[in-house]
Symmetry: C2
């Protein structure tokens, strides 16, 4: 059986934790499995490297950011290989480039195009445990690229897909996926199983357990993901295809995301091409626009609001500043003091009343909804940031998430 295991930065933060991961790997090996281990950079290494850069320049070229950031994982793969070797199991480390992880050339946020598995298979055939640097790859022009934060999950899933692995295990510092953040709601319950779609929404909505790109990739290639804690042996959560039974569950989880900023443009021309002009310009600046709400209020005039990560706000405002006259806006505002709360559930598809229940619960708490956006399996609302905890608790209670038995 070929197993991919991925360990995050907190799981390899120091020598003792690296040894613990090595022991876990060794015990899986003793069970006879072929193993590929994907690791992130140790603890706060990435932040330390970013500090080095910031001390030097405010405008580092993205290509060089990738050169420096990729050293973080290179350090962890070497150390983990050493620790595994120490336990008597041959292990070899491979950087993203050596592991054949080919990406496009979009530095700091590259996408994996293909994986050349020759070297990986060679090392597995030699009986090696292969320790692969997550988060990184190499472009066609032989430049080092990184996949952006959380990219190590994506590396693990991409390897599982390319090598047709039998199992893909994601180890984190929590022991699975919860109905909501247990730090906010103490009754939050661990889910035994969650569907790709639900996990994708939860991941996109701020549940930091898995990177959304990784979930998307797992869904595409139908690879079940086992989310487990690297600190204990508790059963975790399996992310997989939803069966019919599970669709009966209206709401699976409540998520919240504080890394949100809102921008609104007033009285934009109501004619074709306006939205295109605006969001094309934002996309060109690589701004991650999330929710978009457009409402035609008066004749030939309407308002457009959208959200983006707080870190993109400054650049987004620069674009809006430049373009707002072109799209006919009378003005624009922005707000960083907002949060997004969402409910997610595969069962919502066939139950249109769920959104109304959500609005009711928030109304009962006196919480104003600034933006609303819905998809087949989620409803998200933008609210004032300081009401987040109140909202999450109310929703967790409303949909009886602490009570429902997990389905698997």
């Amino acid at each position: 059986m070929l197993v991919i295991q991925k360990y995050g930065g907190s799981s390899v933060a120091d020598a003792e934790r690296i040894r613990r991961v090595a022991r876990r790997v060794a015990s899986a090996r003793a069970g006879g499995d072929d193993l590929i281990i994907v690791v992130s950079a140790m603890g706060d290494t990435t932040d330390h490297l970013i500090q080095l850069v910031k001390a030097l320049t405010g405008t580092p070229p993205n290509r060089e950011m990738d050169v420096i950031l990729s050293t973080g994982e290179q350090v962890s793969i070497a150390l983990l290989s050493m620790a595994i070797n120490d336990l008597g199991h041959p292990a070899i480390s491979l950087t993203g480039a050596q592991a054949g992880i080919m990406t496009d050339g979009a530095h700091t946020k590259a996408k994996i195009l293909t994986i050349n598995t020759t070297r990986l298979r060679q090392e597995l055939n030699r009986g090696n445990i292969v320790v692969v640097a997550g988060f990184q790859g190499v472009s066609k022009k032989n430049n080092i690229t990184t996949l952006g934060r959380g990219g190590s999950d994506t590396t693990a899933v991409a390897l599982a897909a390319a090598l047709k692995a039998d199992r893909c295990e994601i180890y984190t510092d929590v022991d699975g996926v919860y109905t909501t953040d247990p730090r906010i709601v103490s009754e939050a319950r661990k889910l035994d199983m969650v569907s790709y779609e639900e996990m994708l929404e939860l991941a996109n909505l701020g549940a930091a357990v898995l990177h959304p790109r990784a979930v998307e990739l797992a869904m595409k290639y139908k690879i079940p993901l086992h989310v487990l804690s690297s600190f204990n042996h508790n059963p975790g959560t399996v992310v997989k295809e939803a069966g019919n039974m599970e669709k009966l569950l209206l709401v699976t989880g409540v998520a919240c995301d504080l890394n949100v900023a809102k921008i609104g443009l007033f009285d934009v021309f109501d004619r074709p091409g306006i939205a295109y002009n605006l969001f094309k310009a934002l996309a060109d600046e690589k701004i991650n626009v999330d929710m978009i709400v457009q409402s035609a209020m008066r004749d030939e005039r309407n308002d457009i609001s959208f959200t983006c990560p707080k870190g993109d706000l400054k650049r987004a405002l620069a674009v809006v500043e430049k373009l707002h006259k072109v799209v006919g806006a009378q003005g624009f505002t922005s707000d960083e003091g907002v949060a997004k709360v969402s409910i997610v559930g595969a069962g919502m598809v066939s139950n249109p009343g769920v959104a109304a229940e959500m609005f009711e619960a928030l109304f009962n708490e006196g919480i104003n909804l600034e933006m609303i956006s819905t998809s087949e399996i989620k409803v998200s609302c933008i609210i004032k940031a300081d009401l987040t905890e109140k909202a999450v608790k109310a929703l967790h209670k409303k949909f009886k998430l602490a009570e429902i038995a997990g389905c698997s």
Copy 2:
């Protein structure tokens, strides 16, 4: 004009120093030169990485040591490229592998086999200043290798040779090659010029300015090396082919090396193959044996002494322990409290009396000689370590090194 500049770890130890190097590079660029900049890891990065490993294991595989150690230079090349870009000059960083530096597979002490210059020329043609990671390369099997400490000098010279550079500048924290260590002898004088052969002996004998392998390579390809300080604009020392005039100088410099341990075997069989057996076994263990002295004292019996770096002593003793009976030795001793003092000078070739003058100077100071070894242009003696300073001062005075005019 194509210029190779190499900056050591202390020249890029922090953001301010990296900016200073960038300014120096930019001013060379403003003069119209094509530039390749070779850098070492920042300050004590390599030691920090070694500490990380030591906290984890006492027996790291060399392959994985190379994976972790090579990250040090990868960080510096990214930062220096950023700093140069900040000054308005396009710069791009290349790891050893990206720069086409092909080595053998001897991890932690690899040798450069060839340099594939395609990418380097491509980047130069694009108008880029190319910042190359020193100390590292890639093996035919696509494994990361390192050249061993001081290997960045070798990288710079190898690049100069492969690209037929017009000039190769080695920047360090001292402003040239001195007649002896100025910290020991205050009258020590900077040499304007020194021959490859002399520099090679000086480098091998503990003068830390240039790595001996780099000097050897420069000598082979007849590349003049300009040794300069990265902290000032003083004229440095040129290492180049010796002219006839310069050969008249008997002694160019005095060197000392405290990183020496001595091992002696008594009463070894005096028959063919004995020395071979012993030193083959030491070579197999990659022990850097330096001086070897064999003296046939009595019939069919003799003593063999040799020196090695202190760090190799434990492993050397293990070999001797295993082999000493086989080679018939009655016993063996070792001593870490020794030092090697040497005089170097191209003029010694035709002046056999120089060694005697050295012994006289040391005798006058009451210093006992434990081992002696001579070559065409140097004489080395092993003495008690605590007499090193006394010996160096006496030799510097004896050969009037503070007085002789530099030759260039």
